[in-house]
Amino acid sequence: MSRANILRYLKQALVASLWLSFLTLPIMVIRVDTVEQTVTWRWMHLAYMAGGSFVLALIWYIMMERRDLSQAKRELETVERDSALMRFLSDPRFARPLMAFGLLVAVAFPWFFSLYQTNILISALIYVVLGLGLNITVGLAGLLDLGYVAFYAVGAYTYALLNHHFHLGFWAVLPLGAVMGAFFGILLGFPVLRLRGDYLAIVTLGFGQIVRLVLENWGSFSYGPSGISNIDRPGLFGISYSVEQATTYMYYIMVVLVLLTIFVTARLKDSRIGRAWLALREDEIACQAMGIDNTRAKLMAFSLGATLAALMGVVFAAKTTFINPASFTFMESAMILAIVVLGGMGSVLGVILGAFLLMLLPEYLRAFSEYRMLIFGATMVLVMVFRPEGLVRAKRKVYKINVEAAG
């Protein structure tokens, strides 16, 4: 980096920092009490702000230039190259042992880490599946669903209510929940799927809200805002576990479900159906003109995503043993969407990384307590600015051609 460059960066950062300080001045410095009519001035905050924003801006400008450079470089090359890490990960010689190692760690985890760690890992795994499910709808088929959490709620309430009224166990309800999810997916999907793009987004958002509001208000059915407590944890052959054992058990269930979901989505992604979804996402008109039944493809994507969400709803209810409508707000949908986009739309590995990042980051940021949501929001913006295609860029399968047959 040349001296002129450094000077330019410093100047830019200085301007930005002055601007931000000016911008935040009233809100950072002044506090008023309109009842007592007093005003508190906190000038120290301004100094912190100026210093902090200067450093931030400096890094921002340097990163920005590097981003633009690399983007320009990428446009010049027709052949797309992957990063070293991606090449490393996709090379079967390394990928296989790495996967095996990952699996080993996953299996051994509860024996080496505390109940707490296992517990939050279960949460993260639930979000991995939710992310993969929404990835089918949004990432593969390109249907922006902002009410995804509604299906999560369907699953959770299916288990909670059946367990509460009829004492049905986890394993009995798990498939039932999936069926309910698929059913609701198709039910909601039919009328809305002919809407395009952002209209679909806003209608699904509306549906998500409606489901939550109905759960909140229809007290005689859903027990309203006070929710349903004492939901059974999953059992096996009627043995009752302690919380610690149940958590470990739950953890393994989740590991299996995650593996299953990865298997299913990975296979679907490179199948006839997966290709149709992708075509749908890229160009609806061309897709239909090539003989694909758009409505069917959309319904399949929508209801499959819903099925996975409902499945996770059942697990969620069994894990927390208590659910109420407050767990199924729009923010939750936004969070799952963020997992998909941040991780990389359409990429299984990306979504997994995204889920771990978004779920574990706030948990481990507990040390920063009050600031963690601030950092969280900033991270979302920064990742999008510097890596808009997500952490992992989705890749398509490379086919080996049977030359003889192709003649």
Partner: protein, 390 residues
């Protein structure tokens, strides 16, 4: 290459926010440091977990309890600790979300914490309790008022320093039909766990009392900007009294808009509204509003001292559930002191038997875990202050 700067981006985000964030953190740090340094000397320490909403939009209900716990801990530590153990307060945020509450609970259990103040919201408490119960952790909530938490008799490890919805709703209803002699009551609530619980018990009490009628029972949309439609409906129902279950933001909006629409009938509400912020928000319109709230003997010396300490330590008046949080910290630490250690059974026994002077009165706990001697009184706003109605 790319992966390298993903990490860098994250690093920058963290570092940068720290720099920005230092402004507010600095002040807390100094205070947090003081007990820590003292704690460094004696080897044994007693960790007091404080779980509840400490960030997010319900933070203002959870943070006062953390302050209360810090104050009580400081007092004990100044006297040499509990049985020689320095008390350390460990706040644990759950944002009032059940799933985060279970995470917070397992975290506290993993850290071998044996006494916890929390959680703040009933929903979060319900989700977390099985975990504490299994690990034999004593939990005491300053604010979870859901009736079933204690009355189901399911959790012997759960206590609370606040009375519950059923009693409060009944108190409000009896006040309306008894002292105010109203005939038709409009019961409304904010659709929340707390507000609806209160409203439902009040409704039941009115119906059982057979003196007055419930003219309407409806939930309003929380955080709405305009409640004129529901106010017109109240008007049309001919009610001579409004009973509202919920928190002060909605309550203040309703009261102000009621008065604007010329509807000036008695307004009775709950402890979630019995907060000075309500009076600030509603201004002159707050005058005359009734609210039920835990009985606080106005000249209770412990209460006065706790508030004074808070002002001295944190530079502001304490917020919601401060007294209850303070009482919870006092009784828990006292129980550990009386039990001579962190043995679960002994702590529970001590809680059931030992009276403690707290801001909410002289209390011990009954068999179900509710504080004896804590009951509800009715307060009314007069000249910008809540005063006890005799």
């Amino acid at each position: 290459m790319k992966s390298k700067w993903i990490v860098t981006v994250l690093g920058v985000a963290l570092a940068g926010m720290l720099a920005v964030g230092c402004g507010g953190e600095k002040k807390d740090d100094k205070k947090a440091e003081a007990p820590k340094q003292e704690a460094a000397a004696p080897a044994k320490k007693l960790v007091l977990g404080v779980a509840g909403a400490q960030s997010g939009d319900l933070a203002s209900y959870g943070l006062p309890s953390v302050n209360a716990a810090k104050l009580v801990a400081k007092e004990w530590n100044a006297k040499g600790g509990v049985n020689g153990m320095q008390v350390e307060v460990l706040p644990m945020d759950d944002q009032c979300k059940p799933e985060l509450a279970t995470n917070a609970a397992t975290k506290l259990v993993s850290e071998k914490v044996s006494i916890v103040i929390g959680h703040i919201c009933s929903g979060a408490t319900k989700a977390a309790l099985p975990i504490y119960k299994d690990a034999k952790v004593v939990v005491m909530s300053p604010s979870a008022t859901s009736t079933e938490l204690t009355q189901n008799g399911e959790y012997s490890n759960f206590f609370r320093t606040i009375s519950y919805d059923l009693i409060q709703g009944k108190a409000a209803a009896e006040f309306a039909t008894g002292a105010l002699k109203v005939k038709k009551v409009a019961v409304i609530h904010d659709k929340g766990d707390y507000g609806k619980g209160f409203a439902e018990s009040a409704k039941k009490a009115i119906e059982d009392g057979k003196v007055a009628k419930v003219a309407m029972f409806e939930g309003i949309t929380p955080a709405g900007v305009d409640y004129s439609a529901v106010i017109q409906k109240i008007k049309a129902s001919g009610a001579d009294c409004v009973l509202f279950g919920g928190y002060y933001p909605e309550a203040s909006k309703i009261v102000v808009q009621m008065h604007k629409k010329g509807l000036k009938i008695a307004f009775i509400t709950d402890d979630g509204v019995k907060d000075d912020t309500f009076i600030k928000l509603a201004g002159v319109d707050a005058e005359g509003v009734y609210a039920t709230g835990p009985q606080i003997l106005a000249d209770n010396p412990v209460f006065k001292k706790a508030v004074a300490d808070h002002v001295k330590e944190f530079g502001s008046e304490p917020g919601s559930f401060f007294s209850q949080g303070y009482a919870a910290a006092q009784t828990l630490l006292n129980a550990v002191a009386k039990a001579g250690g962190t043995d679960y059974d002994k702590i529970v026994a001590a809680l059931h038997s030992e009276y403690v002077e707290t801001p909410v009165g002289k209390i011990k706990f009954d068999a179900k875990g509710d504080a004896e001697g804590v009951s509800f009184s009715v307060y009314q706003v007069k000249d910008g202050k809540y005063v006890l109605v005799k």
